[in-house]
Symmetry: C2
Subunit: 228 residues, 2 copies
């Protein structure tokens, strides 16, 4: 349950896309699937990761990087509740992560004995979507209390993500949230996105999320074999 905290250096933004591609390639070659997790503050990123990791850790070796402006709350929570290797990344006030910062985090985390790494980005629907972290998959979490109009207001993050979780679905009777409508808004912006309604609190449908990542890691290994 050791949790390191790293203060990230600001990366030169120019060339981030290229750096991201290089990082993605290196990780792929080593069979490490990197997943970038984005959401608003309080949508449930950490709770979702804890629930998910506890379903996956019997089969996959997992590491977590938790980005935050300057608290250590999340990495400690993940380490305590899952036992997997976690590091806290401090962005020093910055609103997003880029590929250089992600690489710094991975170096601290150490990936030699890992199959799957989750990167919890800063809670923000705007800036993180604009920077390629080098992840193979982008996942976002929209929580029911935030409202079903978010794909209209923050289209980029929905366009970028291959997996969208609609979290806190257990609270849907309490809020004015139209699941059918939100599926339509997401499909308009990103027809290929997989959309799963879940509750990280009750565990509802979280097995489907776990299966999704097992499949994706398997696909990566399979592609590696094919190309070698």
């Amino acid at each position: 349950m050791q949790v390191k905290t790293i203060l990230l250096n600001k990366n030169v933004l120019e060339g981030n896309d290229r750096e991201a591609d290089i990082l993605r390639g290196e990780l792929r070659e080593r069979g490490v699937l990197l997943v970038n997790v984005m959401s608003s503050p309080g949508a449930g990123k950490t709770t979702t990761l804890v629930n998910l990791i506890n379903r996956l850790k019997g089969e996959l070796r997992i590491g977590v990087m938790e980005a935050d402006i300057d608290s250590d709350v999340d990495a400690v929570t993940v380490a305590r509740r899952t036992g997997v290797k976690s590091v806290q990344l401090h962005t020093g006030g910055m609103c997003h992560l880029d590929a250089g910062m992600t690489r710094q985090g991975l170096e601290e985390l150490g990936i030699e004995d890992l199959d799957l790494v989750f990167l919890e980005n800063v809670g923000n629907l705007v800036c993180p979507a604009e920077y390629d972290t080098g992840a193979h998959l982008d996942m976002m979490i929209l929580s029911v209390p935030e409202g079903d109009d978010k794909p209209l207001k923050y289209p980029l993050v929905f366009q970028k993500c291959s997996l969208v979780l609609i979290n806190k679905i257990d609270a849907i009777d309490y809020f004015d949230f139209d699941l059918q409508a939100v599926r339509g808004y997401i499909a308009d912006r990103n027809p290929k996105a997989v959309v799963l309604a879940v509750s990280a609190k009750t565990g509802e449908n979280m097995d489907s999320v776990a299966d999704y990542f097992k499949t994706k890691r398997g696909e990566m290994l399979c592609q590696n074999k094919t190309t070698k």
Copy 2:
């Protein structure tokens, strides 16, 4: 119910603080109180403004500027549900507003017949807190489903705001949210902040919010008289 949409030009950031001070002074001289409203996506900024404006519009002449990456949802909602003058500001992908953008919005809105203007900032707890818009007051809305740890994770926005609303308080039994703890976290960062637990949906405690703004506008007029 006319709603204009303005695409904002990117302002040179250098000198923003000075520009903000000039704008604040000009508005003060004309007796127009400008309030900058910040929160996460989906915390209830628009619903809160609609509820608040309907309580205030009998006594004060109000205008609203709704900032968003690229949708028009909010300005239309405010105009339809309150009847007050509204403009939509498109930030062109930017994650915040600065003083120059705010001035552009005010020019479109027209302030000659207004007492109070609300500026709904982009839904984001990081970037908007870093830029002075020229507002006299900064208000933030934290909603119960987001969790009580947000002042630990996004300290700057809590430091900056003179008024913090804890919204969706009607849902507190449903979520694991410690109101006493969050008041403590806010007080640690900003001992002068006024913290009000409200529900914009049910109207609970919204009269106190309306009173707060009536008092603040009165104080501004009083100060203007004293200094003239």
